[in-house]
Amino acid sequence: MLRRMGLLSILLSGLAIVCAGIGVLTTPFPVLGLIFAFGAPALAVAGVMLGGSAMSKAKRAGQTNETAKIGVILNAIAFVPSLLVALTCGVCNALFSTGNMQVQRDVRFGTSPLGSADGGVRALPPPQRSAKPDPDGTGEPAEDDPGATDPNRPRAEPTPDDRRPQNDQPPPERQAPPPGNTLPPPPLPPGPGK
């Protein structure tokens, strides 16, 4: 009986971790995500209680219950990520479920939703191909490109379509470099004296 309680405690710690994982995955689903995210720490707490009770009963019976002790430790460890999931994914889910936050699902780049009054024009920035900077304007990212530093690799010439934004808006004007990065103009040579 005592051993069974200890094993159940260990099982609860595993369930808490699994529940936390499912809580992360089901964050976008209003009630389901809430149940899993807040159920995970509840399972871990129940596991600690069960393990503690098993330890107490074993002590009264003059025995030692290592399984229960392991269950308490595992549940205490499982409690930390479970609580973090509850306080991030669970709270996020609750905010969406109670209507304190809303997802705007009708955003389309370059076109406005059907029936809108603005005639299909939205002041949204053009979509970027990559978040990485593109220093040479070839459409290739500067970093995280395994072959970017390979001198033997042929560089593809950008086609005009590659450079054109997808929403038929005029390309943004190249901005002048900030003043801190520019050198002052060289001093003029002394002109002929009058």
């Binding site: 992360v24 720490p41 509840a42 707490v45 129940a46 600690v48 209680m49 069960l50 393990g51 503690g52 009770s53 098993a54 330890m55 107490s56 009963k57 074993a58 002590k59 009264r60 229960a68 308490v72 205490a76 409690f79 930390v80 609580l83 973090l84 999931v85 306080l87 991030t88 994914c89 669970g90 709270v91 609750a94 905010l95 109670t98 304190n100």
Partner: protein, 259 residues
Amino acid sequence: MHPILTTLHFGDRAIPIGGYGVLLALALLVGGVVALRSAVRLQLDAGAFIASLAAAIGSGLLGGSLLFALIGLLQTGTLGPPGLVFYGGAILGALGFALTARAHGLPLATALDASVPALPLAHALGRLGCLLGGCCYGARFSGPWAITYTDGLAPAAHPAWPRHPWPLYEALVLLALAAFFASRWAPAAGSGRRSALYVLCYALARFALEPLRGDAVRGVTVLGALSTSQLISLTLGLGALSFLWLARRRSLTRSAGLP
């Protein structure tokens, strides 16, 4: 102030790890370990004490959420975003602790006294979590130690005024209380006096610090003067004072040999 400490990436899914959550988990773990050590030193049944602590944590988190929801419901008429209120957690947590301790045959007064130095320590860590998260913030203040929350995720950053570092004030008071109750000057554990004195000290400190709070939601007020926390502080403080007075009278009667 760091509402988001770091972000974990699992494939294309990003999970932000909030500073408040990390500090709350740390507070519960550290508080639990310190309380358990104290209980073992007092020769209490460790297993029963662990079960009681877990019950206190579970019911405490539930109580804190329920009181937060209730305050929001009474003030705005709707269920607001989820949150935690310390007093709700403390009251329901103490109830859960007492019921589980009784079910396991633990001496309640000794068990409560054993957990006293750990409670303010854990609470202080939780307040540092508030500081990181930008919640439980102070009123507008322009003194030299004022802090300005600038992260847009923090409730205190709307508007981003310089404010009293309220969580720090309370954390300092709580750390001082933890140091006192861990010292040899604290009342001996076993009679419940240590717990009652802690409740009295915290209630007084909270009552005094409450006017420096700057959150918009401070609960139901009495005559526009007292917040919910001040009302609870008043009630708990008077209860603790009555307990201490009765305990002292009983010990005086006993020492005088009167029936």
